[in-house]
């Protein structure tokens, strides 16, 4: 579950795409070279770089 973000500008973009605090996410795919990754959020697949994903704070 998303708790918050550590990057304001990126957080706006992610929220627009449905990554809202309180929403559940799950890891779907990891690219063969380890980056980027794809997560399932709000009923669809979203791919993002690890560096971008690291700005999302998660909690159980």
């Amino acid at each position: 579950m998303i708790k918050g973000f550590t990057d304001d500008e990126l957080s706006v973009k992610l929220m627009e795409m449905g990554c809202l605090p309180g929403v559940e996410v799950s890891l779907q795919l990891i690219a063969p070279l380890g980056d980027p990754i794809a997560i399932e959020v709000a009923g669809y697949q979203l791919s993002l770089r690890k560096e971008e994903a690291s700005k999302i704070l998660l909690e159980d």
Binding site: E9, G18, Q28, P32, P36, Y44, S47, L48, R49
Partner: protein, 700 residues
């Protein structure tokens, strides 16, 4: 003038473009929005009441806060009431199977007080997923007329057309009251710009410096108001997004029920293959090879057909019209230039056919996903792969394909380095030169030395592209912060009508826009190669006759005359003029002329060489030219002119130099100005010159 301007807005992958194609068919035009390189797709559509509507397909976006150049257009068109595409009605297209995210954009647009309709597209997909949407109640909650459509089958299109004929009421209350976020700022901006809408005023505060239609003075006023009231863009935007989503969530919960929330199992299975460490790359590589093969080989027959028919047409015109300058200009200048434009159509059509299929099916985003990390090391982006590989066939369609790259910086770098990839036009030049200076012998048993050199040249081009990209990464400044965050859409069977329309649109754009520049340059080059100043050119016929002596056939005379004319033409004089500059590379003025005429296209090197060395038209094949070049003696050294050093120096020069006016024309079109094509030409020429100099000195 249309009676009504309608804008189509929606998330990427919402089926917006398919809907646009369904509504307009072939009645569409592609151009650019003024001043930026963003495709402007407009089309006309006849409404049931007989009125004519202009439909504008705006770039796909997730919100009205732009992240890329493309998305910024949406913002400008909506906020600038004087913009030529400012809509009377907005049709918001939302993916019914992913409603929540799609509604965010809708609620923002609704609050701008422009009459709008909501299209729930892909209603069939939603039904398949057992999503039940209470349309009537959703319509009341959102305050908008809703039209369910299936843009794949065309269901609902007539309903949409009908709805456009009716008067659309603008709701009195905003969906989300933005006042609570910035009361004073909104009031001040509304007063200053005499606006009657809160959200519009709020957007001016949010987007101020990004809006190009505002003047310096207006920017400053808005900044002052923001400072005075302590308005901060990002936190306010963040709060707005969160609160809008909260409202949307409530509405979704009331009107949407999911009976069977089972995941898209097939999709995940395909993904496991397409992004597999081995199969994933194997599939992608196979696809690239197929594309490369198609552009390289399949386009050959139609290209020959185009060239031959235009040449036939030129001959016909030449015969019909009276002889003279006008005839020559028309046939050798304009019609030949036209051939130079039309001949690219098969390659462009094939590449964009493949790209459209990859985009339509949803595979493209997986390919980008696979390649991103690798390409990022060189300052490129996952999306740069397709243009770079296509550049090995031809840089023209490849550079056009960079439109798919979102960030301006990544796109510019890709455009900049793509012409380094060895294209098919370099092949005839390489073949002649390799045959001339590289012995045809096996190496290590099974490799052929000539083949290895050819491969080396391709590799050289690739390395130049990658290294230049890496260097450019430090120099070019990004206009927007680039994100990779991207939706991986579910797989679909491509819709062939969309593929066809993409091909039609891309070839049309190339012929109309790059075509102008190509024809202009080819006329200039033709004039340079066919006319000259001074007595020698004026009295060419007599001089040649004196040279040949008493015995000569008609054909010998013609061949000698064209060689003589070329030598004393403007191009010839220019070739002699630059001789001192190219001497360090081992070239003489004859090669100088070929370098100049090659600017029309690299393969022209072959034709020029055969003209200048007086090889008759019938004998114009590689072997004859090669034999003739082999006999050429350097007057200074008494040794053969085309030795290893000159051969390699020329090969390296052709590998790097920007010798293609069509590439120049397309870079001009894609970067909207002469700045980048000029920088690119200077840079590539410098690289070519220095490397050829090094090659010449190594081998001599």
């Amino acid at each position: 003038m249309p009676d009504l301007t309608v804008a189509l807005i929606g998330n990427p992958n919402s089926g917006k473009t398919t809907l646009f194609n369904l509504l307009t068919g072939l009645n569409q035009k592609t151009g650019n929005f003024p001043g930026v390189t963003v495709d402007k797709k407009t089309g006309t559509l006849k409404l049931p009441d007989g009125k004519r509507a202009e439909l504008v397909d705006l770039p796909g976006t997730y919100s009205i806060y732009p992240k890329t150049l493309d998305e910024q257009i949406v913002q400008e068109v909506l906020l600038d009431e004087k913009h030529p595409q400012h809509p009377d009605v907005i049709v918001v297209v939302a993916d019914a199977s992913n409603l929540k995210r799609n509604l965010l954009l809708f609620t923002q647009i609704r609050d701008l007080n422009i009459p709008c309709l909501l299209v729930l597209n892909m209603i069939d997909v939603a039904e398949k997923r057992k999503l039940k949407i209470d349309l009537r109640s959703l319509s009341i909650d959102l305050g908008v007329k809703i039209i369910p459509t299936n843009s794949r089958s065309g269901d609902g299109i007539s309903l949409l057309k009908q709805a456009l004929t009716e008067t659309i009421r603008v709701p009195k209350m905003p969906f989300y009251n933005v006042r609570e976020l910035a009361d004073q700022t909104i009031d001040d901006i509304r007063r200053e710009f005499s606006l009657d809408n809160d959200y519009r005023a709020y957007q001016l505060a949010q987007q101020n410096l990004k809006l190009t239609y505002l003047g310096e003075e207006e920017h400053n006023k808005i900044e002052a108001i923001k400072n005075e009231n302590g308005f901060y863009d990002v936190p306010t935007q963040s709060k707005e997004t969160l609160e809008r989503y909260a409202l949307i969530s409530d509405i979704i919960d009331r009107n949407l029920s999911e009976e069977d929330p089972s995941k898209r199992a097939i999709n995940a299975k395909i993904d496991r293959v397409t992004t597999h460490p081995i199969f994933g790359y194997a599939i992608f590589l196979g696809l690239l090879l197929l594309i490369f093969q198609a552009i390289f080989a399949w386009s050959e027959a139609p290209m020959t057909l185009i060239e031959d028919s235009i040449a036939g047409f030129g001959d016909w015109v030449k015969g019909v019209l009276p002889e003279g300058i006008i005839n020559d200009l028309l046939t050798d200048g304009i019609i030949a230039g036209l051939a130079g434009v039309l001949v690219f159509i098969p390659q462009i059509a094939i590449l964009f056919g493949f790209i459209a299929i990859m985009e339509e099916s949803g595979y493209m985003s997986r390919a980008v996903f696979l390649m991103d990390k690798l390409m990022r090391k060189f300052g490129l982006n996952g999306k740069s792969v397709v243009p770079l590989i296509s550049g090995m066939a031809c840089a023209i369609p490849a550079i056009m394909a960079t439109r798919n790259i979102d960030g301006w910086k990544d796109r510019l770098i890709t455009i900049f380095v793509t012409p380094f990839m060895s294209c098919s036009a370099r092949l005839p030049v390489y073949t002649i030169l390799i045959g001339l200076v590289v012995p045809n012998e096996p190496i290590w048993g099974f490799f052929n030395l000539q083949g290895l050199v050819l491969m080396g040249l391709y590799l050289l081009g690739f390395l130049a592209a990658i290294l230049s990209a890496w260097v450019m990464g430090f120099i070019v400044k990004a206009k927007h912060r680039g994100y990779f965050v991207m939706e991986l859409p579910s797989y679909k069977v491509p819709k062939w009508k969309n593929v066809g329309l993409t091909i039609y649109e891309k070839t049309g754009t190339f012929v109309l826009e790059a075509g102008k520049v190509i024809i202009a340059i080819s006329i200039i080059l033709w004039v340079m190669a066919s006319y000259g100043f001074g007595d020698k050119f004026e009295n060419a016929e007599e001089n040649v006759k004196t040279q040949l002596g008493a015995n000569y056939t008609e054909e010998e005379y013609d061949v000698a005359l064209s060689a003589y004319k070329l030598e004393h033409s403007m191009a010839g004089s220019f070739g002699k003029f630059i001789e001192p500059t190219i001497e360090p590379l081992g070239y003489d003025w004859k090669i100088g002329i070929a370098l100049i005429t090659s600017f029309a296209a690299r393969e022209v090197f072959v034709g020029t060489m055969s003209t200048i060395y007086s090889i008759g038209a019938e004998d114009d094949d590689e072997v004859t030219i090669r034999e003739r070049l082999r006999q050429e003696i350097n007057p200074k050294t008494g040794e053969p002119m085309y030795n290893k050093a000159v051969g390699f120096s020329l090969m390296v020069f052709y590998a790097f130099a920007m010798q293609c006016m069509s590439t120049l024309a397309i870079v001009y079109r894609e970067t909207k100005g002469w700045k980048w094509p000029i920088i690119q030409t200077v840079y590539m020429s410098a690289v070519a010159y220095i490397s050829a100099f090094i090659a010449y000195n190594i081998f001599s």
